[in-house]
């Protein structure tokens, strides 16, 4: 069981900054995120796009914002459970919560801060009537264990970076790799596109465009897919695996069933005070919450995180009184033993 002071659901900018504000109060944090890397939407959707409304940054790339936040919080040694989705929450008799992920990892904390953005990112599933019947029986929406494909026939569908990159990677693992895309053009890094072209010329990737997979065949396990290539009769490709890679989309998901008040796909919170939900000890901050006048901006998430940490401190230490200190005055004491502080002025006579 992972134990911490504040368990943060969601490692986007708001969740990451919470670690800093909590750290100033000597509270430790652990973050859970369904994505394999921190940063949330900033890393998953638009890492190379600029943001212009982060105070004091006239312009910053979303990926750099994530990098900077990770640097800013590192002395507070946050824990991460990445690539797992927070599924259930149970309140204990002592007032703490146990949050369990889809992989069974358990986390315990007296305070839970949901910084879940628009929800957890789930793969977008193509509209093929019987595809659900073959999930984990030859249909995989993301590649977790490349060895699964050793010496197998594999069909990948999609036109973005992940379809290109995995097609390239699997040529060294799988018996055969077929890449199917609705267009002749691919959207990806130039060197990935060129590498696929090269592998196609070498006969290592069977490229079928413009085409779409219309059906999955098999009994217990995938044995083939039906492909419709523009201007041709539909045909069957024998395959052991079908991997549709059409990107990820956020879904509020299991959090919707945590007994929290939901409005417009967001969690209602008390914005007059501390961004607490209708369940004491569970807070919601950033894009995932809603209150009168809510704006889904990163800078608003930072503010909400800061006030939420004050309330969390009171909940964890009901008998202590906290006096806010400027970091310029108090410095920053990391859990790793480091200390940041303003340089001291020297008092020395000049001869």
């Amino acid at each position: 069981m992972i134990q911490t002071d504040i368990l943060i659901i969601g490692a986007g900018p708001t969740g990451l900054f919470t670690v800093f504000e909590a750290g100033l109060l000597k509270l430790r944090c652990h973050l859970i995120d369904a994505l394999p890397q921190p940063g949330g939407q900033c890393s998953e959707i638009y890492p190379k796009k600029p943001i212009y409304d982060i105070p004091a940054y006239p312009e910053i790339l979303a990926g750099d914002l994530t990098k900077n936040l990770m640097e800013q919080i590192k002395q507070f040694e946050p824990g991460f459970t990445l690539g797992e989705r927070a599924d259930t929450i149970e309140k204990q008799d002592d007032g703490t919560f146990i949050v369990t992920t889809n992989k069974g990892t358990k986390h315990q904390a007296p305070v839970v801060a949901i910084a879940g953005g628009l929800g957890s990112f789930e793969p977008r599933k193509p509209i093929i009537p019987n595809i659900i019947d073959f999930e984990d029986k030859g249909v995989e929406y993301m590649i977790k264990e490349p060895e699964l494909y050793r010496d197998k026939d594999v069909v990948i569908a999609g036109g973005g970076d992940s379809a290109l990159d995995w097609s390239i990677f699997l040529t060294d693992v799988a018996k055969s790799v077929t890449l199917i895309h609705r267009r002749n053009e691919f959207r990806g890094a130039l060197d990935s596109v060129e590498k696929v072209q090269e592998l196609k010329n070498l006969g290592k990737i069977n490229l079928i465009t413009p085409a779409e997979v219309k059906a999955v065949l098999g009994k217990e396990h995938v044995t083939g897919v039906v492909v419709e290539e523009t201007g041709k009769e539909p045909f069957i490709i024998d395959t052991d695996h079908f991997i549709p890679l059409f990107g990820l989309a956020p879904k509020l998901g299991p959090i919707a069933n945590w007994g929290l008040e939901i409005e417009k796909n967001a969690i209602k919170v008390n914005n007059a005070l501390d961004y607490q939900t209708n369940v004491e000890g569970i807070y919601a901050i950033g894009d995932v919450n809603i209150y009168p006048g809510k704006l889904k901006l990163i800078l608003c998430g930072f503010h909400e995180a800061t006030l939420m940490c004050q309330s969390a401190y009171q909940r964890i230490h009901p008998d202590k009184k906290y006096v806010m200190k400027y970091t310029t005055v108090g410095g920053v004491d990391g859990f790793d033993g480091t200390r940041k502080e303003a340089p001291k002025a020297v008092v020395k006579a000049i001869q």
């Binding site: 036109g159 267009r183 796909n265």
Partner: protein, 110 residues
């Protein structure tokens, strides 16, 4: 108001809404749909209008001449689901006086 246009938006339940959209506020079609709450929050405009999620895909039913697709929109529609000949991303259609009478239907959520 002379800068306003009236457009017809059919929501995902098939209900048609006639709404008034301003042309002087740099609004796009996705934002118009959100401002009238014609699709639940969190199901439209997820990427915020960067042509990176296709949650604002719509079918253009009238014969209006729309701004040409840029590469981002074109590539996104190449990967989206439920795409038809008349598919566009709402976030890439700016409200202009020429769009008076525009008729669109929101594509299913995916």
């Amino acid at each position: 108001m002379e800068q306003d246009v009236t457009i017809k938006i059919t929501d995902r339940e098939g209900v048609m809404h006639e709404v008034v959209a301003p042309t002087d506020m740099a609004m796009n079609l996705m934002e118009v749909v959100r401002s009238y709450e014609l699709a639940p929050e969190g199901t439209i405009g997820i990427c915020g209008g960067m042509a990176m999620c296709a949650s604002c895909q719509c079918y253009v039913k009238s014969n209006h001449e729309l701004p040409e697709m840029n590469d981002d929109e074109d590539a996104m529609l190449a990967e989206a689901f439920h795409v038809q000949e008349n598919s566009r991303l709402g976030c890439q259609i700016q409200m202009t006086p020429e769009l008076e009478g525009l008729e669109v239907e929101l594509a299913p959520e995916s």
